[in-house]
């Protein structure tokens, strides 16, 4: 049973917007013990299939640093390939961010979002989306491209742990959850992506509805944190 916060409460969030000097933008996003370094780099090039289209691209890469998890995770560069989980997560981050981009306004540029997990305690893919949005907003603003983003975007995990719906699972909760769900929403409360998975037994529509409700409340609060962090920077 969760003791240090309510079932519908988020972990404490801190967003360090200009954490490094050299990248176009570098955000250290922390939610509880989960810490993700999200950088944005804007390049004056597009993938081949967009050449001469007048439109740009935004893409994400995700990585767990080897010691970010309790036991050491083997470095993917030394194994020679990205694992299935990594691929799945970075595709999700990319889709989530692209949902709030106006590619015509971006023009023929590529925005690279690199999300490197320094410390993992559950919810890293959601934290990566939240931090990557701030990094993208910051970098685009610096390049005079702030109109590229049509809204903000954030994500949160919810799940059923010991039969109870809970918001923002940490690792020990996540690993025993019966249902695990990640929800991505825009700042104005619309859905971008819903991924719900029965880890143990299948679940009902009522439960899905309850979890979506819980997620909506969490994302609203995260969206405010993102806005404040960008306002100060």
């Amino acid at each position: 049973m969760r003791e240090d916060r309510r079932a519908d409460e988020l972990r404490p969030i801190t967003i360090e917007v200009d954490y490094l000097e050299q990248p176009h933008a570098a955000v250290l996003y922390s939610q509880g013990k989960t810490k993700v370094l999200c950088t944005a780099t804007i390049e004056d090039e597009v993938p081949r299939w967009l050449k001469s289209s007048g439109r740009g691209w935004m893409t994400a890469e995700y990585s767990l640093l080897p010691a970010s998890t309790g036991e050491r995770t083997q470095r993917e560069a030394s194994r020679g390939k990205q694992g299935g989980r990594t691929v799945e997560i970075q595709r999700l981050i990319g889709r989530a961010l692209r949902s709030v981009v106006d590619f015509e306004t971006l023009g023929e540029r590529t925005v690279w979002l690199d999300c490197d997990v320094l410390q993992a305690d559950g919810g890293t893919r959601c934290a990566a989306i939240c931090g990557a949005y701030v990094a993208a907003a910051r970098a685009l603003d610096r390049f005079g491209l702030s109109k590229v983003l049509t809204d903000s975007v954030a994500a949160v995990s919810v799940g059923i742990v010991d039969g109870q719906p809970m918001l923002d699972l940490e690792y020990t909760e996540d690993s025993t959850a019966e249902v695990d769900m990640n929800v991505v929403m825009t700042g104005d409360g619309r859905l971008v992506e819903v991924q719900a998975t029965a880890e143990g037994a299948p679940f009902t529509r009522e439960l899905l509805d309850e979890l979506l409700e819980l997620a909506g409340g969490g994302i609203e609060r995260i969206a405010r944190e993102q806005e404040e962090a960008l306002a100060v920077a």
Copy 2:
């Protein structure tokens, strides 16, 4: 606009249960022009992390044959790695099938589900799940292990095309859909996996509910087709 069937109608389904003689089970699952060959192989071994646990494993692999799509897709074996889409899909198939498996009853065995798309016209991941369930059921039955499966499982795609909710998208519909959603459910109507993605603009909760409704009806009909195909075999 869809002309040959209603918005809430599935494409014609055929399930050839014993399509080949040598595999433990080989099912040719067709839904409209989409055709997936699903085989199941039962091995008396488990991955290392399950040794001496008394429990088994079930895993899936997915592949598009090069000419299955309109233009030829490069063979992943000759590119030297599986693409991100393939990895994402085969992880989904594996999770979907594992949700109806009792691993203690399976014992220390691995069930391999191979889903090779012979022809792709939208909905291949859902067709793969539907066919893989039939293959798994058939192979387990042959090995006297029919109690391993606790329920049936099936999947269907739904989406918003030209502003209208539609069931079982074919390729031309899928490629212009504003929202694309895959739903996996058990035979008794509970949810196993929900993956909804805004391809264009973000979407509302009402729309999500409408799509879930549509998917539920489709899966019910597919579950009956699966049952009949297995009953005859």
Copy 3:
């Protein structure tokens, strides 16, 4: 000892010419239990070394589906490379087919021949050549390029099993053969490729001659089946 057919008899052959609707041509070639899906795709591009040469190219890829063999064979895409046997076979198929192509008439196009073995019971490389010829002929005909092929081409395996020359080995025969030989010939009876291998003891010239004779008879019959299948289509 072979009981269901004579030593110089082929297994039953069926050739489904338009097995799928989407590829330029898709042929399901069965010889006994061996079943190979052969597709042909014609692209308006040539490899770099043929650019501006006025000449085209034809190339083949071959793969065993994981469950096509008795025990499951690991998928080459997930191992990250094609095995030596695969490479050797697909090079043979490509050479065999190119021997009946007039590349000037083809023009700057590439014909891809994909041979995916759905079920393997010996003789898969020969079946792939026989099916790939039909697929190539069918696809070229559809593109008004039927003059590209200067002759038909077919292949058959022969071998010495228990001291006796035999035509068209199935798996159990092949795995105990003392000599294993694959012969590729054109429709007019000339040789394209001869590959004879002593699996056990070396063999004599007389034996080689006897095997070539046997192969010649088999290929003549296959060539007639190919012709009929194309005539009907």
Copy 4:
């Protein structure tokens, strides 16, 4: 010309010893704008060639985060292999650290040192060695293994820029240096590794001597910083 510090002066150093909570030790080592996150993980396993030897092992991995450099560097995990420069650097870090390890006292354990460069402004391999030493010392101390380290170890870069010997090159200096040299020394002033490279014209023995002198002074000061950081932690 260097304006903000003397030719024999180091950039400001900060060492955050317990930067993260989950790894056995996590040190954020900064020297000017160069920032390297160094973690140490102690595993109760050794590589195969040390099994039953009673001796342990220490090894290092190094990586540049994509946005750590001015322009984005492609992620090695997505390229599928570690580049030559990475391999060379992580071998150097490993050798440097092993020079102060008593492997019998360590026993059959492996110490993994992961050095991830968050921001690169010259001297990253030296910073990685300096930070990795602190991380190793901290983790070993926590496991009651502080006697494993026989001395401290640190490294610094020196070079000839515009004809003048300089200590601790930043990126703009490094990229125009005529001679580039990395020196690794123990806390008691002995040499562990010397790597001097003529980037432009070859150089004389006198110059080598002068650079070694300069490096010695720098390393002495770094060693004091390391000691203080560990004393406080």
Copy 5:
């Protein structure tokens, strides 16, 4: 037209049996300008599938040194994989040599045959087989295992160049040959492997017979050279 030797004449052969001191055997085999370094290494291990079988294994690897060909060939180690031609050739060499091995007499040992082409002027796979036999014989003899080889083995290329059958093609002949054939035979004149390929037009049985005749004569002479080289060593 060939001017410096008759159509049925071999190029000059030299076999340096103990070319290097460290390998178990190292043979520099030269035929005209083609030079292949063939080494044999005997290891006291067998592949997994032969463990506890009482039988050994013999396998070959083949490589072209980058500058061995006229234009530089990219190194396969730096491309990250062996090409199809390499794989095909090393499988041929292995099969050829295994045809004269008594694996029970060898016992649970592996003989590695490494064939590195220092200079390539046609016929490298045949030269590799000829040299590898000498290296294997020499190494086995040194280990008191000379009874492992039941016969000698050699290979030669033949072909049709400008309509004329020719023995032992050099590169300029090989690249214009209409038919290209490699024949492997034992010292007592039996066939081990026949690989005939129509490079241009298909060919007749009569021609195949003529080429086999020519090859037989060549191999007889090579077998004598092998025997003499081993006698002297």
Copy 6:
């Protein structure tokens, strides 16, 4: 203790300048039992980053033949990647040779230096540098580009074995050395690269000086051998 030569004596050197006929230059460089085949190939192309710069490039690749070492070393092409040691060595060879190249005089050409170790008995990277210089000089001379090289370059290993400084270590010495050092110098006695590594305990400045002295004497003698070999060729 070294018995067949003095501590400051080189092993016998032989340099066969035109060892092969086909490469632009092929040098067999032997120092004691260490034998390295060094070839140079000049291509009329440059890497992308030098296009239209008027400048050329020189690069090296290094490989151990599998049987060159006592026990067989696995072929890197069959493992699918070059090991860390190989990468480190070929980068060193490239840097060493580039230090005596005038890239403007070379023009937009690439010189490939391939160093394949036929037999390894210590000092292979130094032998590769010495032989590669001769190969480069020979090939450039043949192309009328002898002014591209501004000086000669050579390398030698030195080390502390049983407490005593020694020149040109062979394998048994190298594997027990307390300090291992490779020095690269030009013909006029200037330093190009110094790499000193404490294998056991760290070492003093005095010792470093002594080793540099020893290396200088050795390189002077090698430079004379190189000059003579080129003069004769």
